[in-house]
């Protein structure tokens, strides 16, 4: 759509983004259908001068256009019908005008009164989604994928460039990912897709496997989480908002690059405008050998006779990753009785080789894992449900996940991918345990998840809106391992976890919208049931038991923003956040040597954020914006694995630890005339262990020490350039260059010892990319170079990530 509009300022970009959301991003290339026409219009003031930057809204199709410097605008490919245009020029009341589209080309000229203020200000008031979220007072980063969707960049890489967010990965494509938001990680961070916890989609729908062309934007909430995202998150949440194209479109992309990496996806959508019937679907395929080079202290081959090690640069040889899947939805959109009613299916399949154990010095050659998921979902949304101002969305899903680990081959491999005969007896050396990981395993697990969510919003009046949200999830897991004797297999339990989260929120606007608040409370209910057989430690006999436990707890918070003067906004938010204990933490698991711990309390955290958002300030063609966020978190009763006793060799979970964390993150944005975009972000935080004594009254030596094995200073700098009419007329070129910095940190606690402490070293990674869009706007080719300097990079101790890599990506927009 925006290809036909010349946009000259960053504000206009923001406006366009807002527009994008309004119209729910659709196809770019026009369908060659009959009985369609285009409105060409011009907005002028009563004195005849053109009205630039007017927002023109086409009510019936919810389309938006913005007039250019000469006041011109257009709406292309409109089905023949009567339409209403709403023309808004800043400083004036909107003007309505009817248009009949009955031929291929319709001209429509609109006259408006001269605005009393400068026209550029229109754009500032027309806040983008990013701004709208910030105005609610939350500490939030909004990552737009629009500018990078044509590049070979994964969602996780975008997150990693965002201030205060750090992605830590164990290796290449498909490897384990850990999210860190201002220092909190693991179960404290929850991931959502369109507001639904990602756990209800099954792990195949990890952020890594979602092509960024399917993503509208990613919202990162730091500390305080809005009520609509209903899960028990303690330190932050990542909400991925997928595109919801309602117009006919078909696009595909294919990327090929280093390490034999292939990534392909096809996206399509169809809507019958007369019946509202809608179908949309996407399929994806990812493959990589991940055979990148690794080197350093843990990478060597061994002389079988002397045991002497020779350090080498080795290519990973057993690390391939292969996943494919799809998503399809059919139903109706924008009909009288529903804005959206869609029945969806998701399916996916994954296979991953495992190259090594906890560090790279133990090399595997055969262990691998698989998983597959199926999910069925139903989505309903309706604005003004029966009464005006009542908006309802409902979601229900049932998913089925199969996971398996295969490790039954005992041969020992070296980093050259060879088997070894150290004692020269003519037989390949074997692991004494009979398998690579530990004991031979063919472990399978089956997870079923039933999720339901209802969200109701009611606009009490123009300034107050009330939200009610309810999430229910019902989770079971069954495990088995045919390599184990029957008695142990019988011991493996079925875990059942039932979680309900109710939340209410009141959004209000005061003082001419200068103050906006969101007040919310969440009620968490968790029922855990476990069928198990436990072994009586004294008699050695088995006692079957079935137990259930219910936990109820309440969290609450407030977020507020205050616009002091235009472009200067103070935001603040506070929450008492909760993380409920997991089933295995409460009930233990005999097969994993975990004893039950019925008295476990939820983890809690008092989170406070204060931020100052400045801008965007415009000076001629220059635009500046600065967002800052200062946070404080006091986390208590963190659930931690206790100490196993020497005799029993089992352990239980305990509410032991508390952590106090303070920090600041900031992001600066600059743009010049829609051609140069620069952003720089940095995050520093100080998370200190705050439990002085253990349960026996012994003092922790790391009391008030910085958390171990966690990055605490990160920075990122990104510049992007846009050129038009390069090589070919009407073509466009985008170039970006990104530098990421992570300061070194200790694997173990600081304060003890000094010499030879394992360090995850400082990392500086340079990425460079270019994308060229051909004049027909339907084909884009992009090149990406990652880790340009071929630095040895680690996120975790002694687990090296890929070095320099190149990718080429082709994007087609067929319709």
């Amino acid at each position: 759509m925006w290809n036909c509009i010349k946009i000259n300022s960053f504000q206009r970009q923001v406006t366009v983004l807002w527009m994008v959301v309004l119209m729910v991003l659709g196809s770019v290339c026009h369908a060659q259908q009959l009985k369609q026409g285009t409105i060409y219009g011009q907005v002028t003031f009563s004195d005849g001068t053109p009205a630039a930057d007017a927002v023109i809204y086409l009510e019936e199709l919810k389309l938006t256009s913005i007039s250019n410097e000469t006041g011109k605008f257009s709406f292309k490919d409109l089905p023949y019908a009567n339409y209403t245009l709403v023309i808004a020029v800043f400083g004036n009341e909107p003007v309505k005008q009817s248009v009949v589209v009955s031929s291929a080309r319709i001209t429509c000229n609109v006259k408006v009164e001269k605005a009393t203020r400068q026209l550029q200000e229109v754009n500032i008031e027309a806040a983008g989604v990013k701004r709208q979220l910030e105005e609610k007072g939350f500490a939030v980063n909004v990552i737009e994928t629009k500018n990078v969707e044509l590049q070979s960049i994964q969602a996780n890489e975008l997150l990693d460039r965002s201030a205060g967010v750090r992605i830590r990965q164990n290796g290449g494509l498909g490897s384990q990912v850990q999210y860190n938001i201002n220092g909190l990680t693991g179960n404290s961070i929850r991931i959502f897709i369109d507001g639904i916890p990602i756990s209800s989609y099954g792990p195949s729908f990890s952020l890594n496997s979602i092509p960024n062309s399917m993503i509208e934007r990613i919202e990162v909430y730091k500390g305080v989480i809005p009520a609509q995202l209903s899960d028990d998150a303690l330190g932050g949440a990542i909400n991925v908002v997928l595109k919801k194209s309602m117009r006919n479109s078909l696009s595909a992309s294919y990327s090929f690059g280093s390490f034999n990496t292939h990534q392909a996806n096809v996206n399509g959508a169809y809507r019958n405008d007369s019946t509202g019937f809608t179908a949309r679907g996407s399929v994806f395929y990812n493959y990589s050998d991940n055979n990148y080079e690794v080197w350093g202290e843990k990478v060597y081959i061994t002389n079988p006779l002397t045991g002497k090690v020779e350090r080498i640069r080795a290519k990973r040889f057993h690390d391939s990753y292969n996943s494919w899947g799809g998503k399809a939805e059919v139903g109706f959109t924008d009909v009288k009785w529903a804005d959206q009613l869609l029945l969806g299916v998701i399916f996916s399949d994954m296979q991953r080789d495992v190259q090594h154990g906890a560090t790279m010095e133990i090399v595997y050659g055969n262990r691998y894992a698989t998983q597959n998921t199926q999910q069925l979902s139903l989505n309903y949304a309706k604005k003004n449900f029966f009464i005006d101002g009542l908006d309802v969305t409902a979601f229900g899903s049932y998913s089925y996940l199969n996971r398996a680990v295969f490790d039954t081959v005992p041969y020992i491999y070296n980093w050259l991918g060879q088997r070894i005969d150290a004692n020269g007896d003519g037989k390949w050396d074997k692991w004494a345990s009979g398998a690579e990981g530990s004991s031979p395993t063919l472990q399978t697990s089956l997870e079923k998840n039933l999720t339901g969510r209802i969200h109701v919003a009611y606009a009490i009046n123009a300034n107050h809106r009330f939200h009610l949200n309810s999430l229910m999830s019902n989770f079971t897991r069954d495990q088995d391992d045919e390599m184990l004797p029957q008695i142990e297999r019988d011991l493996m339990d079925t875990r059942m976890l039932n979680k309900r989260i109710y939340s209410v929120a009141l959004e209000s606007r005061f003082f001419d919208e200068r103050v906006k608040t969101s007040l919310f409370a969440k009620q968490y209910v968790q029922d855990v049931r476990l069928k198990d057989r436990t072994k009586d430690s004294r008699t050695g006999t088995f006692v079957p038991f079935e137990l259930s436990k219910s936990t109820r707890t309440t969290g609450y918070g407030i977020a507020a923003s205050y616009t002091i003067v235009r472009n200067v906004m103070l935001v603040a938010s506070a929450e008492k956040a909760i993380r409920l204990p997991e089933g295995s933490e409460i009930f233990g698991n005999a097969a994993e040597n975990i004893d039950p711990s019925y008295e476990l309390k939820p983890e809690t955290s008092d989170n406070l954020n204060v931020g100052l958002n400045l801008g965007t300030f415009k000076m001629k063609k220059h635009g500046f914006a600065l967002n800052t966020n200062v946070f404080y978190r006091n986390t208590n009763d963190m659930i931690r694995q206790g100490v196993p006793s020497q005799v029993s060799e089992t352990y239980r979970f305990e509410n032991l630890l508390s952590v106090i964390s303070k920090g600041v993150d900031a992001e600066l944005n600059y743009n010049y005339s829609d051609k140069v975009f620069y952003s720089a972000g940095a995050s520093v935080f100080n998370a200190r262990f705050n439990t002085e004594f253990d349960e026996n009254g012994h003092r922790y030596y790391y009391y008030q020490k910085r958390l171990r094995n966690a990055p605490y200073f990160t920075a990122n700098s990104n510049v992007r350039l846009h050129f038009n009419n390069v090589i070919q007329k009407e073509s466009s070129v985008a170039v970006y260059y990104n530098v990421g910095y992570v300061h070194e940190f200790f694997r173990d606690w600081e304060g003890i010892g000094k010499n030879n402490k394992p360090i995850i070293p400082t990392q500086v990674v340079h990425d460079l990319g270019v994308a060229y869009t051909f004049p027909n706007k339907c084909v884009t080719i992009s090149l990406d170079a990652k880790n340009l300097m071929d630095r040895q990079v680690f996120d975790n101790w002694a687990l090296q990530k890929p070095g320099r890599a190149f990718y080429v990506k082709l994007n087609w927009k067929f319709i």
């Binding site: 090690v309 039954t408 345990s433 390599m483 352990y651 253990d694 010892g753």
Partner: protein
């Protein structure tokens, strides 16, 4: 016919000279490197204090050198060298303490460090070997058996495929215990590590015992004397029909694996009913060789008296039992002990009437194996010595790092000649450890 002209001879001589000079300069360089950071004089004995952090999980082990056991204050706060460690490190020192040899449990490597003298935590990695392929495990255990050699050993046993033997009528015969052994040479002049060839075989217990489901679950703490190596081990039992572990099992005798040394051949298990329990210990030495070549072996188990037995010429001495529990008049459990000569030893033990081994109810007894006496030393209370690995004689005194839980401690310099409960000198201060840490020895 070979004709060497004078010119050629001259050239040859120059080359030869150059080679010699080259070699000698290389040699010199190596010598320089050996010295590290101005190493300690060869006659200086270097002692080390060791500290373990988070011994339950991803633990780390730290060393620092101790110059004076009597004066000063020792602490690991921002001081100390961290040994290479994935889960835990198992270190030993060379006789004069200039080198540390350490096994990285789960990393599967043996490292050798040189102690320099530029600071208390001046240590340099000088050698590394990877015995993992040879022994088939990165989770073996490591014991110093002489001043020139350490042993690496592991026993594996599993219910999984092929781990359990049935007869033709499908009756349970035994659960296999597969042993793997490897000699690791330690050159005390330069810290170089060498590796022997691995030995792997099934270790057999008496047939009826194996038929009852008993198998060897852990092997450790060997001692070498007169061409034999004596290995302690732990036994466990499975239910022969369900293969489930019988957790109530306690051995009703004491047993040792004996092999010819250094060939590691002729393995056989010897037994005695003089004591009941396991002989492998935890990380502390369990067996010591006396001046006349006898091996004194500790036997310990929960709920059974802690005893020391004597082994000579590959057999238990049927006439010798040292019963620590009886001599101190308490129910005890111990993870190992130290021998200082002339029949005198020191035994850290836990009073199991007061609490389990994981609680701070530990004591140290001076034992006289010849005169059959034991004296509980008058140390501060609240000691937790479960993780205590090693201690040494320093100038005629036996020195331990005694640090009560939650309080500062001291080096204690025990006088082996004294039979008094107060037969020690309190030395330099050791700052208190903390939750999840332990001082694990003097090396």
């Amino acid at each position: 016919m070979l004709v060497i002209t004078q010119h050629k001879l001259m050239k040859l001589a120059i080359v030869a000279l150059a080679v010699m000079v080259g070699f000698s300069s290389c040699k010199k360089k190596e010598d320089d490197e050996d010295k590290g950071n101005e190493g300690h004089a060869p006659s200086t004995h270097v002692y080390h204090l060791a500290f373990a952090v988070d011994p339950d999980g991803q633990s780390s082990t730290f060393f620092q050198q101790v110059l004076d056991f009597r004066n000063g204050t020792y602490s690991f706060e921002n001081l100390g060298f961290q040994l290479h460690s994935t889960r835990t490190a198992r270190p030993y020192s060379s006789p004069n303490g200039h080198y540390i040899y350490s096994y990285d449990y789960l990393g599967g490597q043996v490292y050798s460090y040189h102690a320099g003298n530029s600071s208390a935590d001046d240590y340099t990695l000088v050698d590394q070997i990877n015995p993992t392929p040879a022994i088939g495990s990165n989770a073996a255990r490591f014991t110093q058996v002489s001043s020139e050699e350490c042993m690496l050993h592991i026993v594996t046993s599993s219910n999984a495929d092929g781990g359990v033997v049935y007869d033709e009528n499908n009756n349970f015969v035994r659960r296999k215990s597969m042993g793997a052994f490897l000699r690791v040479g330690t050159d005390n002049s330069n810290g170089a590590l060498t590796m022997g060839s691995p030995k792997q075989f099934e270790i057999l217990l008496p047939e009826d015992e194996m038929a009852s489901g008993v198998y060897i679950s852990r092997i450790d703490a060997p001692a070498v004397s007169n061409g034999k190596i004596y290995y302690g081990f732990a036994r466990s039992q499975v239910n022969t029909s369900t293969l489930d572990a019988v957790s109530s099992y306690v051995p009703s005798d004491a047993a040792i694996l004996v092999m010819d040394y250094p060939s590691l051949t002729n393995p056989h298990v010897i037994k005695t009913t003089l004591a009941e329990g396991n002989t492998n210990g935890f990380r502390t030495p369990m067996a010591h060789v006396s001046e006349n070549g006898d091996v004194y072996q500790m036997v310990s188990a929960n709920g059974k008296p802690t005893k020391i037995l004597k082994l000579s010429n590959g057999q238990f001495d049927p006439n010798y039992v040292f019963n620590l529990s009886e001599l101190v008049g308490r129910n005890t459990i111990s993870n190992g002990w130290f021998y200082v000569g002339n029949g005198i030893g020191y035994v850290p033990f836990c009073d199991t009437d007061l609490g389990a081994a994981s609680t701070p109810n530990w004591y140290v007894a001076r034992v006289d194996l010849i005169n059959n006496t034991a004296v509980v030393l008058n140390l501060p209370g609240n000691l937790w010595l479960q993780q205590y690995q090693y201690s040494k004689m320093v100038d005629g005194k036996f020195v331990m790092a005694i640090v009560p839980v939650g309080a500062d401690g001291n080096f204690y310099l025990f006088d082996p000649a004294s039979t008094s409960p107060n037969g020690f000198e309190v030395g330099a201060v050791i700052k208190q450890g903390a939750a999840g840490t332990a001082y694990i020895g003097v090396f």
